[in-house]
């Protein structure tokens, strides 16, 4: 017994195969391939989705990190994710073509109303797939897109309830993401398959009768239409592959930051609605969100009754295609305007550039692995961020930088720069220097006591005391400054410069170097530093060595923060130090 007979004997599938071979279509051709393309694309999306689901994790903490993992690390992850992303656009385009053909051929008329309704539902489901799928990476684009969409839905009647249901509570978080995911992966596919079954069964049921009515003999699906379908599917699949490769897959932005300023835009097929919202503002908003889309949807659903194809309504039949063309033109125009306005919008373009830079940085940092809080925690891999947070936690209460921070201790803006040093000598008890501390022994040196050129020389000497960390200095000026420091001004009466010697003021050996700053942070009350009057907490026992090093580096780097301000001032001085 041959295999075919063996299977047929057990399953009875032979009869099903015969029925398939008997399937008729009114006529075969290219324009009847759209349905098959859509069916193919749907199942392609399902397969791609399953592949992606073996890596993607739908929690607010892991969504972004797992998406980066798929996109940037897993072999061909970028390609499969890209196909899934662009596959959506492909489906939207083909849905448009398919609906256009159905309108052209008045498919909505009796007896195929159900074919038409199910087609509309399937089209809407494709959009629902897009809306539930795009937030899943929980990146800036996905998060803000979802947030704005929820905001818009919330303005429609009954929208509040739907939004709260979708959000899973008051705020966006784990439950929101999971609800989108559950809809996208479980509910919508099931509903789609149900309606697809209805659509196809109704389509084939009436195909034969339609052909008979038109007087032409029907074609057979197999092999006539199937041949066109296979070719069309191949072409679309190839186009999808080429597009995905050319665009390097789907975009992926920085992790969702609820408190940031990301300017979101919907996917291209929603741009016309987006533009409508710009046009209809304030109380008219409902026109753009509910009335116009609602009117279009209602008209489409009502077409079987609006244009039943009878003699009495023959004139209406002639209106359908022009009306559809007009709507299409409107959609295209609105989309084009939206794109043009964005292209000319400097603020938007700047925000885009920043978003891409942000994305690159975040994805770069993600390679080391993202810490458990996930998402934004990727920035903790960036030592710059860590040190800023450390400074904010430990130092900011007393020390300010660039206007942010306390006033009880010296302002560290430009700390260690020649400008800062000039200021502290001119008036050590100024409020932005040691004025609010208990360290008040040093007197001020105004210009009449210390002329500017001399001050500049002394400062140059002080910079040189930092050794290598002081950077390049003018040797002649340093020598002049040292002479002033030791002899004329007697600074060394209070400030020693031999290592470990203590005096009435801090020993300035190595002052301003990273190591010296680190010592001050660890324990500023050391005898050779600020002594017993120092009020600064001893961080040597509170922070790790690495943290102190990081902070010292951060404070040290303040001298370069404002380059132009550190240039020399003063009468006719030609040293022109432009780098500290």
């Amino acid at each position: 017994m041959r295999i075919g007979e063996w299977i047929d004997d057990r399953t009875g599938w032979g009869a099903a195969w015969q029925r398939f071979r008997a399937l008729e279509v009114p006529h075969a051709g290219w324009r009847h391939t759209f349905g098959a393309i859509l069916t193919y694309l749907f199942f392609l999306q399902v397969v791609l989705g399953i592949l992606l689901a073996s890596y993607y994790s739908p929690s607010a903490t892991d969504a972004w990190a797992s998406t980066v993992y798929i996109n940037d690390r897993v072999t061909a992850g970028w390609l499969l994710r890209g196909l899934h992303h662009h596959g959506t656009s492909a489906m939207v385009i083909v849905v448009g073509l398919h609906v256009a053909r159905m309108l052209w051929e008045s498919v909505y008329r009796r007896p195929r109303e159900l074919v038409w309704f199910s087609a509309l539902v399937l089209g809407a489901l494709v959009l629902a797939f897009a809306i539930t799928g795009f937030p899943l990476p929980w990146d800036q684009d996905g998060y803000w897109g979802a947030k704005i969409r929820m905001g818009i839905i919330g303005t429609a009647p009954g929208g509040e309830f739907l939004v709260e249901f979708l959000k899973g509570g008051d705020d966006y978080g784990n439950l929101t993401l999971l609800r989108f995911y559950t809809l996208h992966v479980f509910v919508l596919p099931a509903v789609f398959v149900l309606f697809l079954f209805l659509h196809l069964s109704q389509h084939f049921r009436h195909a034969g009768s339609l052909a008979k009515r038109s007087g032409r003999p029907p074609s057979r699906y197999y092999p006539d239409q199937l041949w066109y379908d296979m070719l069309a599917i191949t072409l679309v699949a190839a186009a999808l592959l080429v597009t995905t490769v050319a665009t390097h897959g789907a975009p992926l932005y920085a992790p969702a930051q609820p408190a940031s300023g990301y300017i979101a835009r919907p996917e291209w097929y929603f741009l016309s609605l987006f533009q409508l919202l710009r046009v209809f503002d304030g109380p008219l908003q409902i026109v753009a969100t509910v009335l116009l889309p609602g009117a279009l949807a209602t008209t489409l659903v009502a077409l079987p009754w609006l244009d039943p194809g009878t003699e009495a309504t023959a004139y209406r039949a002639r209106l359908v295609v022009p009306a559809a063309a007009l709507v299409m033109a409107g959609i295209v125009t609105l989309s084009a305007i939206a794109v043009a306005q964005d292209r000319d919008d400097e603020v938007y373009q700047k925000n885009r550039k920043a978003a891409f830079k942000d994305a690159d940085r975040a994805r770069e940092l993600a390679v080391e692995g993202v810490l458990p809080p996930g998402g934004e925690a990727v920035y903790f891999n960036d030592p710059q961020i860590v040190v800023r947070m450390l400074f904010a936690e430990q130092c900011e209460t007393c020390h300010a930088i660039d206007g942010i921070g306390g006033e009880e201790a010296p302002d560290l803006t430009g700390y260690g720069s020649r400008k800062w040093l000039r200021e502290v000598i001119r008036d050590p008890n100024a409020p932005s220097k040691y004025g609010h501390t208990r360290l008040d022994d040093m007197e001020a040196y105004p210009e009449d006591e210390l002329p500017q050129p001399q001050l500049v020389a002394v400062v140059e000497y002080l910079v040189s005391l930092a050794g290598e960390d002081g950077g390049s200095t003018d040797a002649a000026l340093v020598a002049k400054g040292k002479a002033l420091f030791d002899d004329e001004l007697d600074c060394n009466n209070c400030h020693e410069v031999e290592p470990h010697e203590s005096g009435d003021g801090p020993n300035l050996f190595g002052r301003g170097s990273r190591a010296w700053i680190g010592r001050v942070i660890a324990d500023s009350s050391a005898d050779d530093l600020f002594g017993s009057d120092a009020e600064m907490p001893k961080y040597g026992s509170k922070l790790t060595k690495e943290e102190i090093e990081l902070l010292a580096e951060f404070v040290y780097s303040q001298r370069d923060a404002n380059q132009d301000e550190n240039a020399d001032e003063g009468s006719g001085d030609t040293t022109g130090n432009d780098s500290d």
Binding site: G151, I152, E164, F165, N174, L175, A259, G261, R278, Y348
Partner: protein
């Protein structure tokens, strides 16, 4: 059939759980915004608010939960939420024209938050402020979007 129906009730209750229970928490109540001396007359400063956040089964410490534009007006300090009342984008400040604006749909607001142009249905949402020992405290809150009334959610 009966068994299916029996599962339906609890099923609906499961799905509807967030309606009757708080699933997220954090970023409400008074949060520190920095020393009062930080805020200038006529020049808005953007302040970020940090709080511990509960997100369903997670607790995340010290997350940024929102921000506000804070500025002095006459003798008062005013805090305006950075969430645009239209659809929720982040409000920016235009230094050249001394106005707030929303880059998404181009609403413009005066320094006191009043909407001067664009699709926003109301002024920027003002947040309650309080002073405690020289530090400004702001009661961060969220409001319904797209309505002309300011409704806290």
């Amino acid at each position: 059939m009966g068994v299916t129906a029996a599962a339906l009730g609890p099923g609906l209750a499961l799905v509807g759980y967030p309606f009757s229970h708080e699933t997220t928490r954090g970023g409400r109540g008074f949060l520190p915004a920095g020393k009062l001396s930080r805020f200038k007359d006529g020049v808005p400063t953007k302040v970020d608010f940090f709080d511990d956040k509960i997100d369903a089964w997670n607790r995340i410490e010290h997350v940024k939960v929102g921000s506000a534009w804070v500025l002095r007006q006459d003798d008062n300090v005013v805090a305006l939420s950075t969430v645009c009342p239209h659809v929720g984008c982040a409000i920016e400040y235009d230094e050249d024209h001394h106005k707030f604006y929303c880059p998404c749909h181009r609403s413009f607001f005066a320094l006191d938050g009043a909407c001067e142009d664009g699709p926003s249905p109301r002024a920027l949402d003002e947040l309650e402020v309080e002073e405690k020992e020289g530090v400004l405290q702001v009661r961060y809150a969220r409001f319904r979007q797209g309505t002309s009334d300011k409704v806290e959610i």
